[in-house]
């Protein structure tokens, strides 16, 4: 990384109060005018869960993995982090363009905007966790308490990975608007290439290498191991690899953003 990149990262830290306020604003503004307000943060993941559960237990019960009881809990372990991931990327890819006015007229570090998108997603993710907790208690899954210490680690890896991709996408989208449309389809493909609605072991042997290259496989598996699979968590090389990849993606994403920084004000 160039020295200015580090200086800019420090600058970003100086703006953390602004980031905090902007995340608060997003959350507040989002539910302004709706009757249920903040409850939607709980209702949304719940509804999503109900839909998937209905499809895989009532409509096509045969297609779900074996020995995954209760199946809806298994689903939730992967769906909740995926929702954070995909919505953050979709939103941040549009973040700079939507706030074009700001970038053209006010001097402030533009990376604040995609970072706010990702952190807003993180807050929604955290609001979904109590629902997940209630489910675990209800289903009486024998979660190993020490495993829960792994949860923040996995969340951190996902955060770094998402931030890296968000920075990359937000700056590139300013130049290639096509990315916005492309991204939706890529994310759909990515969702099915990740063991969220099926366990990793159920995928055909010859495709395992693809799943293993996908960093989100290791994140989803880690969530499932911590919150669903009985017995203590045994983190493998996969999670370490995902952590390393997340750091690389962040470095690349931030560098690209930094290179394109001066062109943003002219192009949005």
């Amino acid at each position: 990384m160039r020295p200015t990149v580090l200086a800019n990262l420090r600058e970003l830290l100086r703006y953390r109060a602004l980031v905090r306020s902007l995340v608060g604003r997003e959350l507040k503004a989002r539910y302004r005018g709706s009757v249920l307000g903040f409850l939607w943060s709980f209702i949304n993941p719940l509804l999503l869960l109900l839909i998937y559960t209905f499809v895989f237990t009532v409509v096509m019960p045969g297609s779900r993995g074996q020995g995954l009881e209760p199946y809806s809990l298994f689903l939730f372990c992967g769906l909740l982090p995926w929702t954070w991931f995909s919505s953050s990327l979709l939103e941040s890819s549009n973040a700079l363009i939507a706030s074009g006015n700001l970038i053209r007229k006010v001097m402030f570090p533009a990376e604040v905007l995609p970072v706010v998108s990702v952190l807003t997603g993180l807050v929604h993710f955290c609001l979904g966790l109590p629902i997940l907790g209630l489910f675990i208690l209800y289903a009486a899954v024998p979660v190993v308490p020490t495993d829960l210490l792994w949860l923040p680690v996995v969340v951190l890896i996902q955060l770094v990975l998402t931030l890296g991709l968000a920075l990359l996408l937000s700056s590139l989208t300013v130049h290639f608007r096509d990315l916005r449309d492309l991204l939706g389809n890529v994310l759909t493909l990515w969702f099915f290439a990740t063991p969220i609605i099926y366990p990793a072991a159920q995928a055909p042997e010859k495709y395992h290498w693809i799943l293993n290259l996908n960093p989100f496989t290791h994140l989803a598996t880690a969530y499932q191991q911590v919150l669903f699979v009985p017995g203590p968590m045994h983190p493998g090389a996969g999670l370490a690899g995902a952590a390393g990849l997340a750091l690389v993606v962040f470095a690349v994403g931030y560098s690209v953003f930094d290179r394109l920084r001066d062109t943003l004000a002219e192009e949005v």
Binding site: R25, A29, G33, N101, L102, R104, V106, F108, T263
Partner: protein, 435 residues
Amino acid sequence: MNAVEVRDVRKLYRRYGRRKSFGTIKSALLGGGVLSALKPDATFEALKGVSLDVRAGSTVGLIGRNGSGKSTLLKLIAGIGKPTSGTIRVDGRVSALIELGAGFHPEISGRENVFINGMMLGLSKRDVARKFDAIAAFADIGDFIEAPVKTYSSGMYMRLGFAVAINVDPDVLLVDEVLAVGDEAFTHKCLDKFAEFRRQGRTVVLVTHNPDLVARFCDDAVWLDDGRLQAHGDPRRVIDAYLMDVAAAEGAALTALAEHRDPLMAAEAIPSNMFEADQGRWGTREAELLDVTLRCGDGSTSRVMRSGEPFEVLLRARASSPLADFAFGVAIFNGDGVCCYGTNTTIDGGTPETFAGDGEVRFTIPALPLLDGLYTVDVAVHRQNGVPYDYHRKLHAFRVQSSRKDVGVFRPPHHWEFSGGVRLAGLGPGDDEAS
């Protein structure tokens, strides 16, 4: 000491072609890296090497036509974007009033927006909290400060945006035409605030199209034209140079318009009712006006006159056969189509003798008593009973410039006298006001 130092700054804007599509991403990813795909198809140079020093504590007015690079320069000083080449150094905290309320979120309250906007402009949360009362008082929007910003009128929105930006406590304040949008009271408030800034020894750079504002408020004026520094120095001098240049350009445009109309003039267009004709040329052409020239005070051909100075209409005329019954006429119309003045040689008491072959007619107003504005002049040669030989209606336009702000149709010679308890300087009969 200089608060702002601009050195050889050039700014290139890039224009991209239409074909910026998936094809270019694909090729970019396959070969040459993503950055190489960002090559522009064409460039536009907004600033062509500008150097400028702004003394700390001075108020500087930046003037120039649309597209001359004023706003670009202001943005670069503000740090929004970087110069393509050259350097800009700014001493102290900068606040830019470029767009008021940029970044306000419509759904949340004015109070919350003040905090977020203030932090975007570089204040800490504690700073904003400390200044909040001052900001709310300046914006003067009452209880609306707690209402969502989307319920604001545009004036309230602007006032709040201005209040935040001005309370950032900048050492250098950059202002881009924001005064043009406010109502009278708001403008006064802003000007008072700028005056306060000056007293506190801060630096203000003002982009404006209003020369009066520059003359009244600025220590220095800078004139940018086509991305280059044309003049920098005493406001009165720079403004006059700028206005003369604008007038010359306007004159050229009017001349071009007149030339463009010439083919139309040649065509014999006889309107069914000449009194309803808006513009055109008609007549029997037994006599013809071959050429019409307008001259200003110094005797040069111009389409831009100065109020109070001589004005001349020069007609080159030709009679195809000798005429004994003829009169020349001139009339001046203002932009509203009101006839300001009209006369002819018969009205003025002249008696025609002979008109044969080529001749010249010169009509002179020694001190043009017209106000600032756009005018047209009718010229004609006709029989004494009014039957036209050649009538040009509103074909010749000219501009009158006046530094005075008086109103109406024309300026009659006048003077003021005061006696008794009234004393007023500068308008006595001896002061030679308003000839």
